[in-house]
Each structure stands twice: as structure tokens, then as C-alpha cells.
């Protein structure tokens, strides 16, 4: 596998389909490559605008528009919950950030920051302990963190009292991650939040958030408002991380046990030869 081959063959989110105005042309970049896309009666269309000008692949999955720059695209990852008939699918908007998309994914996987960044929402002192959880790579080369537990004062737009939530985190692709969380109305099933990161460049990204929920009480706006508040709290943190590209070596950024998932993610990126959006100090000093 060549460096970043997985990324060049992968599908990258560019928009939440419901937010697109029919006929209007949108310009953006994917891995630094300028593209234009639009939707009309015939569906979604996209063009590369660099030296390889011409049509490029675009597809709709999970309420999101995805672009692939390769002629040998990877298969899409699976989210079976999306097809369940009683699910509500709600996009929570697309927000652009000045940081490597890898850091945005890693932030999503982290619980240790809940009491400090999401005070009163996802955590509060003195309940700061991150209990041990399990991390494994599955047969699809995806990372799963299971049995993640945290005490939360306001776990979601629905929850009124503090509860100990049980989370599963999943990384399907370098820029694709999902959270499966305790579902208050149906305790044997789970709500899914997808964070689909679009790598505009190595230091800029767009975070597209899609909720695949069982909730039948809260309006789309209420669900979005909660997610946007949470994301707004993370935003100020993400844009103030240095360097903007993510180091993969533990020498530079020291993890603790609570960072088992993020350590597994950084290791997985190294093993899958992902360099895009990573910080390589040795190369710079050459």
C-alpha cells in the first residue's frame, strides 16, 4: 500500500444532502483537489477542477454526499441502523475548522475532556474518571472501543437526569467515525451519531454531523441545537491545538489509559500508511 493510498481511494463527505439547494453549484476541495458539485433532478454530479479536469465520482449514502477522486474506489462502510424504518435521520450541519481532520476525529473519540469542555452537558467535576474500556480492530479493519462508560449530567437533548452512559466508538475510515450511545426511549438499541470529516487540506477540514436516532419526542431543531452546542464547545479547543497536523508518535504527545482509543487510532493510521494531515517533524529537519 502506498502512502495515503487508502485516502485517495476513499469516499469523502462533502455535504449533507438535505442542506443542498437544487441546481446551485458548490465549490470545495477534497485532499486539496478543487471540486464542484451540485444536485438536480438526475441526482448528484461532481467535477474535478484541477489539471485532471473532468467528472469525478459522487454518491449519496447516509444522507450525505460523498466524493471519490479515484478510479478504484473503496467499498462504502456499513451503518445498518440507517435502514431501520423507525429511525430519524437528522443532519446537524457542516462546520469548517482550521485543524487537521485527524484531530477532529480523535476529539470525537475522547471522553476525558467531557467535564472540562462540555461542563454540565456531557460531564462535570468531580466525576472525571475514565473507567477502563476495550479497544480492538475488527475483521473489516475498523477500530471499535466498547464498554465506554461515563457519568453525564445531560447526556442528550432527551435526558433530564444524570445517568451513566454506555458508549461504543467506531472508526471506519481515517476521517469517518461514529458514536453509538445509550438510547433513553429504547434501552436495547442505540442512537448513532456519525461524524464525517471532509479533509479540505492537511490543516483544514469540514465536520459533517449526521444523527441516526430513535427519538420521537424532540424536534430536528432541538436535536441539532444540542449537537451544535457540543460541537461549538469542541471547536475552540480544536483550533487551538498545536501543531495543527496530528503527531502520530507518543514522544510528542503523551497519552494515558483513557486515551487507549486515540492511541489505537494513531497506531492504525501509521499501519495504514496515512501521512495526510499528520505532523512529521523529522522530515522537516532534513
Amino acid at each position: 500500500m502506498r502512502v495515503d493510498e487508502m485516502l485517495w481511494r476513499d469516499w469523502h463527505a462533502v455535504a449533507i444532502v438535505a442542506d443542498l439547494a437544487a441546481g446551485r453549484r458548490y465549490r470545495t476541495t477534497v485532499l486539496g483537489v478543487p471540486v464542484t458539485y451540485w444536485c438536480d433532478g438526475d441526482g448528484l454530479h461532481a467535477l474535478r477542477e484541477d489539471s485532471d479536469t473532468g467528472p469525478c465520482r459522487i454518491a449519496e449514502r447516509y444522507a450525505t454526499a460523498w466524493i471519490c477522486l479515484s478510479d478504484a474506489p473503496l467499498d462504502f462502510f456499513a451503518i445498518p441502523e440507517f435502514d431501520e424504518p423507525d429511525r430519524r435521520v437528522v443532519g446537524a450541519g457542516s462546520i469548517r475548522l482550521h485543524v487537521s481532520g485527524l484531530r477532529a476525529v480523535e476529539n470525537f473519540l475522547d471522553m476525558g475532556h467531557f467535564p472540562y469542555v462540555h461542563t454540565g452537558y456531557l460531564g462535570a467535576e468531580p466525576h472525571t474518571e475514565v473507567l477502563p474500556y476495550d479497544v480492538a480492530i475488527d475483521a473489516n479493519n475498523e477500530i471499535l472501543a466498547t464498554n465506554c462508560r461515563f457519568v453525564q449530567p445531560r447526556a442528550s437533548a432527551i435526558a433530564a437526569d444524570p445517568i451513566e452512559v454506555n458508549y461504543t466508538y467506531r472508526v471506519a475510515r481515517p476521517f469517518v467515525t461514529m458514536l453509538y450511545k445509550t438510547c433513553v426511549p429504547a434501552p436495547d438499541r442505540r442512537d448513532v451519531i456519525g461524524l464525517f470529516i471532509q479533509p479540505l487540506s492537511e490543516e483544514w477540514c469540514v465536520a459533517h454531523t449526521v444523527m441516526i436516532y430513535l427519538d420521537d419526542v424532540n424536534s430536528d431543531e432541538e436535536l441539532r441545537r444540542f449537537q451544535q452546542t457540543i460541537f461549538g464547545q469542541d471547536l475552540m479547543i480544536l483550533i487551538n491545538q498545536v501543531p495543527k497536523r496530528m503527531p502520530l508518535e507518543a514522544r510528542h504527545e503523551i497519552p494515558v489509559r483513557a486515551d487507549a482509543m486515540s492511541s489505537a487510532y494513531r497506531r492504525w493510521l501509521r499501519e495504514n500508511r496515512i501521512a495526510y494531515g499528520t505532523w512529521q517533524p523529522e522530515a522537516v529537519e532534513a
Binding site: 450541519g93 475548522l97 431543531e221 441545537r225 452546542t229 457540543i230 483550533i239
Partner: protein, 225 residues
């Protein structure tokens, strides 16, 4: 009952939430989703504010738009201390309004750069950032001179006014518009002081500060018997 037409991530709405909380006023919220559905441009909301902007405030029969105007109203009507907008001090009122207008300039520069960077608004971000730095330089020099004569607040009194609340949010969120406050140390010290105002609340992207160091112990109040 006061109704605030509100959006969580709006700095202008936060100005009003801040004063409402500091004054201890109860109110209800009508959420207007700015992004992505642009509910502030909906027909229903245009009937509340024909300019299609947030925040707006309803209090009885009164309907107001514009964050600064709302701050003036709430302070004038409800502030029993009379310090947030001292109606009996013309000089202070002049200064406060001068800085309320300045706050509008911060909205037009810092907030515009933020809307461009985060939400893809079609503004000339470089121009907005250049303008923001011009304003921040002026703000920093002003606050430095206030500090040098023992002052802590924008309008020179010994208590904050609504001018401080009006200028605070977008200054605090400047990073989100690609504007660093590193060159504005007096501004950064002032933001610490604003955060220590009793009744202060945060919004997404704003974090608390450590309590001030008291140098002289106050007298202890008696324990309940």
C-alpha cells in the same frame, strides 16, 4: 414574561443571555436556528424582525431587535443597581453608547470572519480580519490606559457597564475567525475580569477563568447556629 429569540452559537444573542443572567431575570427562549436551516430568514421570523437578524426580544407588548438596543432596554428597566446603564450620568451614557457602536464594528469584522470561516458565509475574510485587528488595536490601547489609571472597565467607572458585555463575546471568539488575541494583552486581561462578574455564564467556545486572588481577607460571616 421576557422572550428571547435566541441561537446558541450567536455572540450577539449571548450578549443578551449574559445580561439576563447577571440581572437574575427569568425569561423564556424561542430557538431560531441560524444554521443550517436559516430560520432567521423565514417568513415567521421576519415578522418578528424584518431585518432577519438575531437576537430579538419581546417583553409584554414591546418587541426589540439589535443586541445593543436590547441591552440598553434591559439595563434601564430592570437593573436595580443602576450601574449597568446609569441613566443619571450623561457622560457615562455617552461613553457607553460610543462603545456599543464599537461593538457593532466588532460584529462586522470578527463575527463576519467567523461566519466565513465556520459557516461558509460569503464575506471577504481577509478584509474582515484586517479591520478586526484595527479595532482590537484601538481597544487594547484604550484598556491599557484605563488600567494605567487604576480602571478595569471600558467606560472608566468602578463597575462594568453594558458596553463591556457588548464588546466581550466576539473578542472572546476571535480565534474562530482566525484572529489571535496574542497582540492584545490588555484586552486579554479585561476578558478575565468580565468572566469574574457575578452571574457570568459561558457560551460554547468560552471557558471560565480562575477566581481572582484576594489579597486582604474579608471578615468571616457567622456559621448558622
Amino acid at each position: 414574561m421576557i422572550t428571547l429569540y435566541d441561537y446558541e452559537l450567536s455572540g450577539n444573542c449571548y450578549k443578551v443571555r449574559l445580561l439576563l443572567h447577571i440581572l437574575g431575570l427569568s425569561y423564556q427562549t424561542e430557538d431560531i436556528e441560524f444554521f443550517p436551516s436559516r430560520q432567521h430568514k423565514s417568513e415567521a421570523f421576519l415578522r418578528v424582525n424584518p431585518l432577519g437578524q438575531l437576537p430579538a426580544l419581546r417583553d409584554g407588548d414591546l418587541l426589540l431587535r439589535d443586541a445593543q438596543a436590547i441591552l440598553v432596554y434591559l439595563a434601564s428597566r430592570y437593573d436595580t443597581s443602576g450601574r449597568w446603564y446609569p441613566l443619571d450620568q450623561p457622560e457615562m451614557l455617552g461613553k457607553i453608547n460610543m462603545w456599543l457602536a464599537f461593538a457593532d464594528g466588532l460584529t462586522g469584522s470578527i463575527s463576519a470572519a467567523r461566519l466565513h470561516d465556520l459557516f461558509f458565509f460569503d464575506f471577504d475574510a481577509d478584509q474582515c480580519r484586517a479591520r478586526a485587528h484595527q479595532l482590537l488595536r484601538i481597544l487594547d490601547e484604550h484598556l491599557w490606559f484605563e488600567e494605567s489609571t487604576g480602571g478595569s472597565w471600558l467606560c472608566g467607572g468602578d463597575a462594568p457597564t453594558i458596553a463591556d458585555l457588548a464588546c466581550f463575546p466576539y473578542v472572546m471568539l476571535a480565534d474562530e475567525g482566525g484572529i489571535s488575541l496574542i497582540d492584545y494583552p490588555a484586552v486579554r486581561r479585561w476578558t478575565d475580569r468580565v468572566k469574574r462578574i457575578p452571574g457570568f455564564i459561558v457560551m460554547a467556545g468560552i471557558f471560565p477563568v480562575a477566581p481572582a486572588l484576594e489579597t486582604a481577607p474579608r471578615t468571616e460571616s457567622a456559621l448558622p447556629s
